[in-house]
Symmetry: C2
């Protein structure tokens, strides 16, 4: 075997083990008995040690030096394997270990603090997480920007400065749209009788219509919706709320976007470095375009209105237009995950600025709640009423995900670019959407994005698909057009 | 750290990885999407490679040489770790690899052949499995008896000769009981309306009553009932047949016996060599005593009759005695897993003799069907009608489990010993069973068997619990007493 072949065999086995780790995570959120948590932590720890040892195995370095890529895909393989190997080698094992242990504990502390609306109880833990993340970031940055080094884990090629500039360009338009919408009478949520079982049945149908391959996946309930796994075993979860059917249905469409990306990657890349979504931002672009540009479009809402009326009866809206307005209603709220397409990005900007300050050491963990509440008041115009509606609402920081939040907005930006390009390439899209047929859109996305897995760097991938570099303008055009019609003022 | 501590840390991590492998197996039988099979095979293969590498890691040998056990449990740890290490070292990696690959393929061939009742299609595959198993057995035996070496994997300390002698003592009594029972009018199965949902609800209640800890387990449906996992995550499966509620209910009680053994082991042994059932025979003793000596006892059947009448209405039996007779009915049948307590062991004796002959090379794979059918006719008095009712009914041989079958009867023998001892130690047992309270029995079993995990060798464990070495006489006394009353002839 050549060095390249040895490297590929070894990393493919590592990829298989990483899939197992993912499946364990899925199990933990869906199936695991509650009394198994401690034992599971030990099991997961053992598998993570194995993965870490393989990712830092000196053989990988030797093979990388000697390997010759046979083709373009092989070059991409080597590039991604090298990046991961170099990254893993930069973090001292003791630090990696300490981080893994701390963040697994910290998540429990966060959940407790959130349940009790008690930020003070969480602050010392967050301070510890921050200390280790700064250390990790410094080790990765090697003298460069620490926050940028953390970003690189989620969105290779991006920097904090570029995100800052992008957000600065988006902000005025979003603020204006928000202001216009909130100045008008509030659109009501749908009302009616939405039994959980019927929601799940429709969720399954929606998954199928959006292209989810049921032979290679499954849908279960979980506290937080997620998609897990790559290739031939990509599982999704959702949740139901009897008051709000959109929670279940649009979460499902969102996770189907993630899942179709993973299911749609060229099978030749399975279990290799190319065999998964290339970045968090691109991943989120798929879930967002499925959920928003397609799922919340006027055309699709016309079909969904009829389908839901058949399933649930009267929903308190006069017609499909009223339904569409309700699906896209802009209203006051504290929670990022419940925000509409306009305000969502404002939630992210707040987190981006705060986490950069936390990592830079300009904001102490203990001062986060006050800083959050001040900023929220300034951006949204009203006071956060309790920590679980404020800085304790998201799990991310407790588990060390600093640099992750902006990828949600990057996903929106990429989705905006892809949507504009797709509309040009597939003119009759709305006709299909209006009959519940999403295949033209999902086909285009598979062909232009999903199949490539990790073959191209994120911004190259978007540029290949859209004919231009990633840019917030298409998203802003789309939001302007959509929400100016919905809220003409 | 001392060598002992290093060894324990390393093997405990291996134990954690082995638990993950078990969980993957559970997932495959209960949750996995059907299209994920190939990818899963690769994932499982990767984890098995890791496990194999750890089990043969030369460090283990070094630590074993240097380690000093701190106490009795430590001595047992070293004994079991040494046994596994030496076993793993005896099998050439290429052979282990070839066996793993072949048996994973062979199971599919077996399933296909069984579905088509076509032994000829399976015979060449079985021949390949046999060749590799003989090779493996020879490597393990190092000049000793090959079948004994294979037995050692499932029941340390037992030999083919001892089993042969034990079976010879049991056989006349079993044949006489069988003859007497079949000479009488056949007892009918229960009849009625047994919806699957109600069966599952009762199965859950039975699991609780038999001591299953729901906080550390779960029950799902699967094609074949099984128990999986150790310590704090021990999952069981069952199945339902709308004609035959006992299929679901007694399978559940059986698997609860296995599961309570695993859940009941001293938590100090978790993930170590002592942290699981000590042998297949002892494991089966727990499932059998739960299912048969307790679950099919007259006292418990009285309670179950009332409980099932409440759930399902009329079952076509006159009273609790009629119900008890139906639960324990002896009737003609081809299938081991459906056999009553008397005939079950005859099914095992047939398999034991045939598999010993197969391994010894005295019987060729191609001649198995004829040999099976002749032997079945001789033992049971009627002709096998098709291969799926004959030599293709069990999966075991296809996956290389030679030496496994006799542990089922050993389990019955151990259960007989334990039951007799328990009846002496806990005089009021039937009073509890008659009210559906099994705790006195399960408490005794936990104290005398389950808590010890791998601390004692199988026969020592039984001797400590019962005051005498394992012996078939108590089982035969129990069967004689029970079935002579049921079938007085």
């Amino acid at each position: 075997m050549t060095a390249y072949q040895k490297l590929m065999a070894f990393t493919r086995e590592t990829g298989a083990l990483a899939q197992i780790a993912g499946r364990l995570g899925w199990d933990q959120e869906t199936m695991m008995p509650r009394g198994a948590a401690d034992q599971r932590a030990e099991e997961t720890g053992a598998l993570q040690s194995v993965l870490h040892a393989r990712r830092t195995d000196p053989h990988v370095g030797d093979w990388l030096q000697a390997a010759k890529a046979p083709d373009q895909a092989g070059e991409a393989q080597l590039r991604l394997i090298r990046r991961e190997y170099e990254r893993a080698g930069k973090v001292p094992p003791d630090l990696a270990n300490a981080l893994a242990k701390l963040t697994s504990r910290a998540q429990g502390h966060w959940a407790e603090a959130r349940a009790g609306d008690d930020f003070k109880a969480f602050a010392p833990v967050l301070e510890q997480v921050l200390r280790l993340k700064r250390e990790e970031g410094a080790a990765l940055a090697g003298g460069g920007d620490v926050y940028d080094a953390l970003l690189e884990d989620y969105e290779p090629g991006i920097t904090g400065a570029r995100i800052e500039a992008m957000f600065a360009r988006m902000r005025p338009g979003l603020v204006a749209l928000r202001k216009a919408a909130l100045a008008m009478p509030e659109v009501a949520a749908v009302t009616g009788d939405f039994p959980a079982g019927k929601q799940m049945k429709l969720a399954r149908e929606l998954a199928r219509r959006f292209g989810y391959d049921w032979a290679r996946g499954r849908l279960d309930k979980a506290v937080h919706p997620f998609s897990s796994g790559s290739g031939d075993d990509v599982r999704i979860t959702t949740r139901t709320s009897e008051d709000d059917p959109f929670n279940c249905l649009y979460s499902t469409i969102h996770e189907v976007g993630h899942a179709c990306y993973e299911q749609g990657i060229d099978p030749a890349y399975r279990l290799t470095a190319l065999g998964q979504g290339v970045s968090m931002g691109v991943h989120e672009s798929q879930s967002r375009i499925y959920e928003n540009q397609l799922g919340r479009s006027r055309a699709f809402c016309g079909w969904l209105y009829r389908r839901m009326t058949r399933a649930f009866g009267d929903m308190g809206v006069a017609d499909a237009d009223g339904f569409y307005a309700s699906v896209n209603r802009v209203h006051r709220g504290y929670i990022r995950t419940e925000a509409d397409e306009v305000q969502y990005n404002l939630h992210i900007m707040l987190r981006f600025d705060l986490e950069r300050a936390l990592i830079a050491g300009d904001l102490a963990a203990g001062d986060l709640e006050a800083a959050w509440n001040d900023r929220f008041k300034a951006d949204f115009g009203y006071q956060v009423d309790r920590a679980s509606n404020g800085c304790l609402q998201d799990v991310h920081w407790s588990v060390g995900l600093f640099g992750y939040f902006p990828t949600y907005s990057l996903g929106n930006v990429y989705a905006g670019c892809l949507h504009e390009a797709m509309r040009q390439a597939v003119p009759g899209l709305d006709a299909g959407l209006a009959t519940g047929d999403i295949s033209a859109a999902t086909g285009w996305l598979n062909e232009n994005v999903q199949q490539y897995g990790g073959l191209y760097e994120p911004s190259d991938l978007i540029e290949r698909a859209c004919g231009h570099a990633p840019d917030a303008a298409p998203l802003m055009r789309y939001l302007d057009d959509k929400f100016t019609r919905l809220y003409p003022g």
